[in-house]
Symmetry: C2
Subunit: 267 residues, 2 copies
């Protein structure tokens, strides 16, 4: 079992922030990543559609000999996690619970949550944070333009700063002390977010806490690859449902390195 | 035959600008509109994927008793029109040819073309304009943030103006006299575009010229509904593949009125 891969999917490219965090923490593990680039984004779509797409992604990965499934997409984690858990015979880690856990640990009085329209509408972070620390005040806001701005590569662009101010100053003025980055695209915007929110606001990047959770789960199951195995002996695999060139190119923004071998699959 | 409907599809909501233009010109006609909202946007996807999605949309409409098919999506028109024309036994009108025709008629020396990344990469407008008026200089630019800005409702927002300046001032400085709006979302940005480009630059809205083309084609076939028929006797139908609420809400930006009855279909 321990030689099997970690399977993960996202609606597209953003999940590479989670990939990177898992890879840094568990360099020996083989990872199979699927980006559903033909149907992205998920964050503007309905619950039913997100569940249907997520199930198709999960079934593809399960067909590829994985030992654990990481749902790296916040919108999928918000809507499809219970469904996938009920349906699939493999341990599943989403990004909402780990993010909520970190937020509850860090936040003092008021926590902000930002994400896609679907994630914010689901109230999944609010429910998960409230379950852990009921006395926190939670302010949520969807930020639909952040994903297109990141995909355009306008990471340090004045327009992105202006959009950030429009979305976030109302939360900042109410005195949030912690901000949950509830979308896998947002960690690349950390410098802008710190400028807008101020350095005293703690940013919660669920990529890091999700990687922690994956490690803990594999450890407790005894499923971590052992010292005799290296990732080089079983290189990671990247699949997309469309446009591998674009994935390679934009992927560099998230990974800081080129992804050379990306294969296209179709459902 | 003349009682059958006009079928049209778009990747989502933007095609309503074409719907509106056809409706204003041909108020007696019944229109069946399909927005592929589960898989939008098309403009960031590959040619193969756009062709596949377009074919599925067209087949759905052909199953609904249509006399003519309007491909209201620029990305679909750019990549899938030849394929659809070869495959389907119904007259087909895309938005590229009518837009190129109007541009060639209007432009004096330098024409600009803006659209999604897919449409601009296809060079479909360039080829079509050049075929009609080979001595025109053509400057193209993809504007990937315009669609998300329109869908966010930031039509007259300072951020949209800034993004417009970044995308368009390089074209404006080179002295374009005509600008083709190569995406069905862009007509709602006309005031901003005029501010950025200056009032002397003619904006070509292919919705209007496409509606003209549809009328000419139906006239020449003798397929227009006659004076005894009213649209009220056969109301228009709207279908989406996801999220009818959102279509109703954002649709108002394009139509200036609410769309009450939107049905969901799934392929």
């Amino acid at each position: 079992m321990n030689k099997k891969a970690i399977g993960m999917f996202d609606s597209g490219i953003g999940g590479l922030t989670v990939y990177r965090a898992i890879k840094e923490r568990l360099p020996r593990e083989k990872i199979i990543y699927l980006g559903d680039t033909a149907r992205l984004p998920y964050g503007s779509k309905s619950a039913e559609t997100i569940v249907r797409f997520s199930e198709e992604n999960a079934r593809f990965l399960l067909g590829n000999n994985i030992k654990i499934l990481v749902v790296a997409c916040n919108s999928s984690s918000a809507y499809a996690l219970t469904h996938l858990t009920d349906m699939l015979a493999v341990p599943i880690v989403g990004v909402i619970e780990p993010g909520a856990e970190a937020a509850a640990r860090t936040a003092k009085k008021i926590v902000g949550v930002i994400g896609t329209s679907a994630t914010i509408a689901s109230r999944a972070y609010e429910d998960a944070i409230r379950a852990k620390k009921p006395d926190l005040r939670i302010l949520s806001r969807d930020c639909p333009l952040f994903v297109p701005l990141v995909e355009e590569g306008w990471i340090e662009h004045p327009v992105t700063r202006l959009v950030g101010e429009e979305y976030l100053l109302p939360l900042q003025r109410q005195g949030i002390d912690t901000m949950v980055l509830g979308c896998t695209h947002y960690p690349v915007l950390k410098p802008m977010l710190t400028t807008v929110l101020g350095p005293e606001v703690q940013l919660i990047d669920s990529a890091l806490t999700t990687a922690e959770r994956v490690q803990r789960m594999l450890e407790s199951l005894g499923w971590l690859r052992d010292g005799n195995e290296t990732a080089a002996s079983a290189p990671d695999e990247f699949y997309v449902t469309d446009f591998p060139e674009r994935f390679r190119r934009v992927g560099e923004i998230f990974l800081g390195r080129k992804i050379t071998d990306v294969r296209v699959v179709s459902f």
